[in-house]
Symmetry: C2
Subunit: 258 residues, 2 copies
DNA sequence: AAGCGTTGTTCCACATAATGGAACTGCGTT
DNA sequence: AACGCAGTTCCATTATGTGGAACAACGCTT
């Protein structure tokens, strides 16, 4: 009963996009060939088609980068996203209350994708993180979101994670994560205690559509040297309240049917 | 000698993405079917594949929206873009000098895609416009960029434009645009005199890679009621200087070969 | 509440488009 | 100048997408 049939031709094209994205810089033909193992003829045609569609861009030195059309698609995806729109005022309020960086993220497979961000120091480019994907198992938003999944679904996902210890405090086994998620599910909020990046911790709370087809979370993030664990814990009610308000706004605005 | 072969399967998948993007809001199956004319079976499979790849997302009410993975691709595309990176300090400087909104855009076919923006009033969401596509023929950046194309290429593009008079001042014929572009090419800068949106005008200057495989521009935009045409003209040297500095930085940093 | 029209889903014989090995081109290197 | 490798083109084979039609699910009307 294997249901996950391949996406055929499309999957191969997306694999090319993904390889370029993972590289994080322009890649040459040969590097791509090694990364995804497509024979030269096939890869060449894929790139050629992607370029015609504006999804890939060739530099004059025969290196390839992601195309500008992806920006346009993302711009629309972002602007027309209801969850983000509904959450926005609550992010601002939470930021006003804490004066620290507030994130909104959504769970996509095993990753959290950040949909929005409000940060104290506007000097840093605001959109630098929008769209960024991070592992769910070592981020506050990610753990809060995972904890909201139905038990069966949660277990499947947890068991397919490839753990990497980003810091000494990273939860690095399925068993530990499972235990942590149960705790988070019970108390309704999560911490990231320097699990992704040393010196950065956060408090997070889950948000979700009523049918949980969409799960995500919000968080308040701060450097450990400036904000104590105690302070973080004192913010939990604020974070939880914001999350609850978002949840209820979602339930109201997207209808009980959703 | 028709060279523009179709992109086959990929093209049809992208047509679906494009239709959803154009709608600017979640669309239902039937609407998509009408928009792109794919038979139900085909459309259903395309959507199914796009969803498996995370490029499309289904709402519980059977409407489809662009997927979160597009945000991630765009995030990488934006962060790893050298032109944007090189231009950034010059945008900031131009903003400092004028205290008005500064744009960086790149020409993609017949459209300008905005890569960056620095605006005076930070109250408005900064990334609201990043990735946005606008017609080239009625924007300052677009006209400046078109004017930099080799004559033959420019004429081909101008002749394939479908003009729409957004305002009474919009240039709406290929002949008028051609004349305007020649003028712009000679003097080295462009204005948008309320041609896209009544009450908004701007001064722009072209930027380009040395081989002109990439053309774009920067602009200073302001509402007419607050900034006079005279003021705009006085800013032209600043805009031109910033553009020239970007051009020379590009030439240096991306190498004479590029 | 039943029936009907609309909307979305599945299936399968067929046609088309993708595949990839191999031969080729051209650029950079010694 | 000749070598080697990155990148490109070609084409017979094969896998994949195609779309009509039959089917299922939903919601709206009577």
């Amino acid at each position: 009963m294997e249901e996950s049939a391949s996406t055929g031709t499309l999957g191969k094209a997306v694999a090319v996009l993904d390889a370029i994205a993972r590289a994080g810089k322009p890649v040459r033909f040969r590097d791509l060939r090694d990364l995804i193992g497509q024979p030269p003829g096939t890869l060449h045609r894929n790139l050629s088609n992607l370029m015609k569609e504006g999804l890939v861009r060739a530099n004059p030195d025969n290196s390839y980068a992601l195309g500008y059309r992806l920006l346009t698609f993302a711009s629309v995806a972002w602007a027309s996203n209801r969850f983000r729109e509904i959450a926005e005022p609550h992010l601002r309020e939470l930021h006003r209350q804490t004066d620290e960086t507030v994130h909104l993220g959504v769970l996509e497979g095993l990753e959290v994708i950040y949909l929005d961000k409000v940060e104290s120091r506007q000097a840093v480019r605001m959109h630098s993180q929008i769209g960024k994907a991070s592992p769910a198992y070592c981020t506050g938003v990610g753990k809060a979101a995972l904890a909201m999944l139905p038990e069966e679904e949660r277990r499947i996902r947890v068991n397919s994670i490839h753990f990497h210890a980003f810091t000494p405090k990273t939860i690095a086994t399925a068993m530990d994560l499972e235990a942590e998620l149960i705790t988070i599910g019970q108390r309704g909020f999560a911490f990231d205690d320097e699990e992704h990046e040393t010196g950065i911790h956060c408090a997070a709370a889950p948000i979700h559509s009523t049918d949980r087809s969409f799960v995500g979370g919000i968080s308040v993030t701060a450097p450990s040297y400036r904000v104590s664990r105690d302070q973080l814990e004192q913010w939990v009610p604020l974070v939880s309240r914001a999350a609850n308000e978002i949840n209820s706004d979602i339930a109201i605005q997207l209808g009980p049917r959703v």
